[in-house]
Symmetry: C2
Subunit: 143 residues, 2 copies
Protein backbone atom coordinates (compact mmCIF):
# COMPACT_ATOMS: atom_id res chain seq x y z
CA UNK A 1 0.00 0.00 0.00
CA UNK A 2 1.44 3.26 -1.18
CA UNK A 3 1.65 6.15 1.26
CA UNK A 4 0.86 9.65 0.11
CA UNK A 5 1.90 12.09 2.82
CA UNK A 6 0.09 15.03 1.27
CA UNK A 7 -3.20 13.14 1.15
CA UNK A 8 -2.81 11.94 4.70
CA UNK A 9 -2.35 15.50 5.89
CA UNK A 10 -5.43 16.63 3.96
CA UNK A 11 -7.55 13.79 5.31
CA UNK A 12 -6.78 14.84 8.83
CA UNK A 13 -7.02 18.56 8.13
CA UNK A 14 -3.44 19.19 9.10
CA UNK A 15 -1.47 21.99 7.54
CA UNK A 16 0.86 20.96 4.79
CA UNK A 17 4.42 21.75 5.82
CA UNK A 18 7.61 20.33 4.43
CA UNK A 19 8.62 19.01 7.86
CA UNK A 20 5.42 17.04 8.24
CA UNK A 21 5.71 15.57 4.78
CA UNK A 22 9.33 14.69 5.41
CA UNK A 23 8.54 12.79 8.60
CA UNK A 24 5.84 10.72 6.95
CA UNK A 25 8.07 9.96 3.97
CA UNK A 26 10.84 8.80 6.23
CA UNK A 27 8.60 6.55 8.30
CA UNK A 28 6.92 5.10 5.20
CA UNK A 29 10.28 4.06 3.75
CA UNK A 30 10.37 0.87 5.75
CA UNK A 31 7.69 -1.49 6.95
CA UNK A 32 9.42 -1.92 10.28
CA UNK A 33 8.83 0.69 12.95
CA UNK A 34 11.46 3.34 13.40
CA UNK A 35 12.64 4.58 16.76
CA UNK A 36 12.62 8.22 17.75
CA UNK A 37 16.44 8.30 18.06
CA UNK A 38 16.83 6.75 14.60
CA UNK A 39 14.41 9.26 13.13
CA UNK A 40 16.26 12.09 14.78
CA UNK A 41 19.53 10.85 13.36
CA UNK A 42 18.15 10.38 9.85
CA UNK A 43 16.50 13.76 9.72
CA UNK A 44 19.65 15.33 11.04
CA UNK A 45 19.26 19.05 10.99
CA UNK A 46 16.53 19.10 8.39
CA UNK A 47 14.05 19.29 11.21
CA UNK A 48 14.47 20.65 14.68
CA UNK A 49 14.28 18.12 17.50
CA UNK A 50 11.39 19.93 19.13
CA UNK A 51 9.43 20.08 15.91
CA UNK A 52 9.91 16.36 15.46
CA UNK A 53 8.47 15.73 18.92
CA UNK A 54 5.49 17.87 18.11
CA UNK A 55 4.87 16.25 14.75
CA UNK A 56 5.09 12.73 16.16
CA UNK A 57 2.68 13.61 18.94
CA UNK A 58 0.11 15.09 16.65
CA UNK A 59 0.38 12.14 14.26
CA UNK A 60 -0.24 9.77 17.12
CA UNK A 61 -3.20 11.78 18.38
CA UNK A 62 -4.75 11.84 14.93
CA UNK A 63 -4.32 8.11 14.44
CA UNK A 64 -1.79 8.49 11.63
CA UNK A 65 1.07 6.80 13.42
CA UNK A 66 1.09 4.36 16.24
CA UNK A 67 3.68 4.32 18.92
CA UNK A 68 5.27 1.13 20.18
CA UNK A 69 7.37 1.27 23.31
CA UNK A 70 10.32 -1.07 23.45
CA UNK A 71 11.70 -2.58 26.61
CA UNK A 72 14.00 0.39 27.14
CA UNK A 73 11.14 2.84 27.11
CA UNK A 74 12.10 4.15 23.70
CA UNK A 75 9.27 5.18 21.39
CA UNK A 76 9.03 3.56 17.96
CA UNK A 77 6.69 4.67 15.24
CA UNK A 78 4.89 2.94 12.39
CA UNK A 79 2.16 3.98 10.00
CA UNK A 80 -1.28 2.99 11.24
CA UNK A 81 -3.62 0.87 9.24
CA UNK A 82 -6.35 2.90 7.59
CA UNK A 83 -8.88 1.88 10.23
CA UNK A 84 -7.22 3.97 12.91
CA UNK A 85 -8.83 7.21 13.95
CA UNK A 86 -8.45 10.00 16.44
CA UNK A 87 -10.90 8.13 18.69
CA UNK A 88 -9.30 4.75 18.58
CA UNK A 89 -6.16 3.08 17.42
CA UNK A 90 -6.67 -0.36 15.93
CA UNK A 91 -3.32 -1.82 16.60
CA UNK A 92 -4.42 -5.25 17.66
CA UNK A 93 -1.64 -7.01 15.85
CA UNK A 94 1.42 -8.57 17.42
CA UNK A 95 4.71 -6.71 17.42
CA UNK A 96 8.02 -8.43 17.17
CA UNK A 97 11.01 -6.83 18.82
CA UNK A 98 14.28 -8.36 17.68
CA UNK A 99 16.72 -8.67 20.56
CA UNK A 100 19.61 -8.72 18.11
CA UNK A 101 19.00 -5.80 15.76
CA UNK A 102 16.31 -4.26 18.02
CA UNK A 103 13.99 -3.61 15.10
CA UNK A 104 10.26 -3.69 15.75
CA UNK A 105 8.01 -5.39 13.21
CA UNK A 106 4.26 -5.03 12.92
CA UNK A 107 3.27 -8.63 12.32
CA UNK A 108 0.22 -9.79 10.48
CA UNK A 109 -0.77 -11.81 13.52
CA UNK A 110 -3.86 -10.87 15.48
CA UNK A 111 -3.86 -10.93 19.25
CA UNK A 112 -6.18 -13.70 20.41
CA UNK A 113 -9.07 -12.75 22.68
CA UNK A 114 -8.24 -13.29 26.32
CA UNK A 115 -10.68 -13.50 29.18
CA UNK A 116 -10.08 -10.85 31.80
CA UNK A 117 -10.76 -11.48 35.47
CA UNK A 118 -14.11 -10.33 36.81
CA UNK A 119 -14.28 -6.55 37.09
CA UNK A 120 -11.54 -5.79 34.59
CA UNK A 121 -12.70 -4.31 31.31
CA UNK A 122 -10.03 -4.28 28.64
CA UNK A 123 -10.50 -1.89 25.74
CA UNK A 124 -7.22 -2.50 23.96
CA UNK A 125 -4.38 -4.93 23.92
CA UNK A 126 -0.69 -4.71 23.29
CA UNK A 127 1.40 -7.77 22.56
CA UNK A 128 5.08 -7.81 21.81
CA UNK A 129 7.13 -10.89 21.12
CA UNK A 130 10.87 -10.77 21.77
CA UNK A 131 13.31 -12.92 19.89
CA UNK A 132 15.36 -13.12 16.70
CA UNK A 133 13.93 -11.72 13.53
CA UNK A 134 14.04 -13.26 10.08
CA UNK A 135 17.02 -11.23 8.89
CA UNK A 136 19.10 -11.86 11.97
CA UNK A 137 18.33 -15.57 11.80
CA UNK A 138 19.62 -15.68 8.24
CA UNK A 139 22.80 -13.87 9.18
CA UNK A 140 23.51 -16.44 11.87
CA UNK A 141 23.06 -19.33 9.45
CA UNK A 142 25.40 -17.81 6.88
CA UNK A 143 28.26 -17.74 9.37
Amino acid sequence: MKINPVNILKEHSLKHTKQRVRVLEEIALDTVAISQPELEKKLGKEIDRVTLYRILNIYEDKGILHRIMDMNGTANYAICSSSCSEEHHHDEHVHFNCTSCSKIYCLDVTVPKMVMPHGFKAVSMNTTAYGICEKCNLLVKEN
Copy 2:
Protein backbone atom coordinates in the same frame (compact mmCIF):
# COMPACT_ATOMS: atom_id res chain seq x y z
CA MET B 1 2.64 -16.12 49.52
CA LYS B 2 4.70 -14.34 52.12
CA ILE B 3 7.79 -12.44 51.06
CA ASN B 4 10.92 -12.59 53.17
CA PRO B 5 13.41 -10.03 51.90
CA VAL B 6 16.29 -11.41 53.92
CA ASN B 7 15.82 -14.90 52.51
CA ILE B 8 15.52 -13.59 49.00
CA LEU B 9 18.83 -11.79 49.35
CA LYS B 10 20.48 -14.94 50.71
CA GLU B 11 19.10 -17.10 47.93
CA HIS B 12 20.66 -14.83 45.35
CA SER B 13 23.87 -14.31 47.31
CA LEU B 14 23.35 -10.61 47.58
CA LYS B 15 24.68 -8.67 50.53
CA HIS B 16 22.16 -7.84 53.17
CA THR B 17 21.80 -4.08 53.46
CA LYS B 18 18.97 -2.11 54.96
CA GLN B 19 18.32 -0.33 51.67
CA ARG B 20 17.88 -3.58 49.78
CA VAL B 21 15.56 -4.98 52.40
CA ARG B 22 13.58 -1.77 52.45
CA VAL B 23 13.02 -1.82 48.67
CA LEU B 24 11.76 -5.40 48.71
CA GLU B 25 9.46 -4.69 51.63
CA GLU B 26 7.98 -1.72 49.88
CA ILE B 27 7.36 -3.58 46.64
CA ALA B 28 5.92 -6.59 48.45
CA LEU B 29 3.33 -4.42 50.20
CA ASP B 30 0.99 -4.49 47.25
CA THR B 31 0.23 -7.09 44.64
CA VAL B 32 0.07 -4.46 41.92
CA ALA B 33 3.29 -3.29 40.37
CA ILE B 34 4.78 -0.06 41.60
CA SER B 35 6.32 2.54 39.35
CA GLN B 36 9.82 3.88 39.80
CA PRO B 37 8.53 7.41 40.50
CA GLU B 38 6.10 6.10 43.13
CA LEU B 39 8.86 4.10 44.77
CA GLU B 40 11.10 7.12 44.80
CA LYS B 41 8.40 9.19 46.42
CA LYS B 42 7.60 6.54 49.05
CA LEU B 43 11.19 5.95 49.99
CA GLY B 44 11.73 9.65 50.15
CA LYS B 45 15.17 10.32 51.49
CA GLU B 46 15.55 6.95 53.18
CA ILE B 47 17.43 5.80 50.11
CA ASP B 48 19.41 7.80 47.63
CA ARG B 49 17.98 7.97 44.12
CA VAL B 50 21.09 6.45 42.60
CA THR B 51 21.10 3.58 45.05
CA LEU B 52 17.49 2.84 44.19
CA TYR B 53 18.37 2.64 40.51
CA ARG B 54 21.19 0.25 41.28
CA ILE B 55 19.09 -1.94 43.53
CA LEU B 56 16.26 -2.19 41.03
CA ASN B 57 18.66 -3.08 38.25
CA ILE B 58 20.35 -5.82 40.22
CA TYR B 59 16.99 -7.22 41.31
CA GLU B 60 15.88 -7.38 37.73
CA ASP B 61 19.12 -9.03 36.61
CA LYS B 62 18.84 -11.63 39.34
CA GLY B 63 15.24 -12.44 38.49
CA ILE B 64 13.87 -11.10 41.77
CA LEU B 65 11.78 -8.36 40.25
CA HIS B 66 10.36 -8.00 36.84
CA ARG B 67 10.02 -4.73 35.08
CA ILE B 68 6.93 -3.74 33.17
CA MET B 69 7.07 -0.69 30.96
CA ASP B 70 3.90 1.35 30.72
CA MET B 71 2.83 3.31 27.70
CA ASN B 72 4.75 6.36 28.88
CA GLY B 73 8.00 4.46 29.08
CA THR B 74 7.94 4.45 32.85
CA ALA B 75 9.33 1.37 34.58
CA ASN B 76 7.09 -0.52 36.99
CA TYR B 77 8.24 -3.30 39.25
CA ALA B 78 6.65 -6.39 40.71
CA ILE B 79 7.98 -9.42 42.55
CA CYS B 80 8.72 -12.29 40.20
CA SER B 81 7.20 -15.68 40.61
CA SER B 82 9.61 -18.16 42.15
CA SER B 83 10.37 -19.72 38.78
CA CYS B 84 12.30 -16.70 37.55
CA SER B 85 16.06 -16.89 37.44
CA GLU B 86 19.05 -14.90 36.34
CA GLU B 87 18.92 -16.76 33.05
CA HIS B 88 15.28 -16.30 32.27
CA HIS B 89 12.28 -14.39 33.47
CA HIS B 90 9.06 -16.32 33.39
CA ASP B 91 6.65 -13.50 33.10
CA GLU B 92 4.31 -15.01 30.63
CA HIS B 93 1.21 -13.70 32.29
CA VAL B 94 -0.93 -10.85 31.06
CA HIS B 95 -0.55 -7.41 32.58
CA PHE B 96 -3.41 -5.03 33.00
CA ASN B 97 -2.70 -1.32 32.87
CA CYS B 98 -5.60 0.73 34.14
CA THR B 99 -6.09 3.87 32.08
CA SER B 100 -7.86 5.53 34.99
CA CYS B 101 -5.63 4.95 38.01
CA SER B 102 -2.67 3.81 35.87
CA LYS B 103 -1.95 0.85 38.14
CA ILE B 104 -0.42 -2.24 36.58
CA TYR B 105 -1.73 -5.64 37.66
CA CYS B 106 -0.05 -8.98 37.10
CA LEU B 107 -3.03 -11.07 36.07
CA ASP B 108 -3.36 -14.78 36.51
CA VAL B 109 -3.99 -15.11 32.81
CA THR B 110 -1.44 -16.88 30.62
CA VAL B 111 -0.51 -15.51 27.22
CA PRO B 112 -1.82 -17.88 24.56
CA LYS B 113 0.69 -19.34 22.15
CA MET B 114 0.83 -17.45 18.90
CA VAL B 115 2.30 -18.63 15.65
CA MET B 116 5.10 -16.40 14.41
CA PRO B 117 5.74 -15.83 10.72
CA HIS B 118 8.38 -17.99 9.11
CA GLY B 119 11.86 -17.01 10.20
CA PHE B 120 10.86 -15.26 13.39
CA LYS B 121 11.80 -17.10 16.58
CA ALA B 122 10.09 -15.69 19.67
CA VAL B 123 11.66 -16.51 23.00
CA SER B 124 9.44 -14.43 25.22
CA MET B 125 6.18 -12.59 25.10
CA ASN B 126 4.80 -9.49 26.67
CA THR B 127 1.10 -8.76 26.73
CA THR B 128 -0.56 -5.78 28.33
CA ALA B 129 -4.25 -5.06 28.35
CA TYR B 130 -5.40 -1.48 28.75
CA GLY B 131 -8.73 -0.59 30.27
CA ILE B 132 -10.50 0.02 33.55
CA CYS B 133 -9.54 -2.03 36.55
CA GLU B 134 -11.81 -3.62 39.10
CA LYS B 135 -11.47 -0.84 41.67
CA CYS B 136 -12.03 1.97 39.20
CA ASN B 137 -15.06 0.18 37.77
CA LEU B 138 -16.58 -0.02 41.24
CA LEU B 139 -15.94 3.66 41.87
CA VAL B 140 -17.82 4.55 38.71
CA LYS B 141 -20.84 2.47 39.66
CA GLU B 142 -21.03 4.03 43.10
CA ASN B 143 -21.42 7.51 41.63
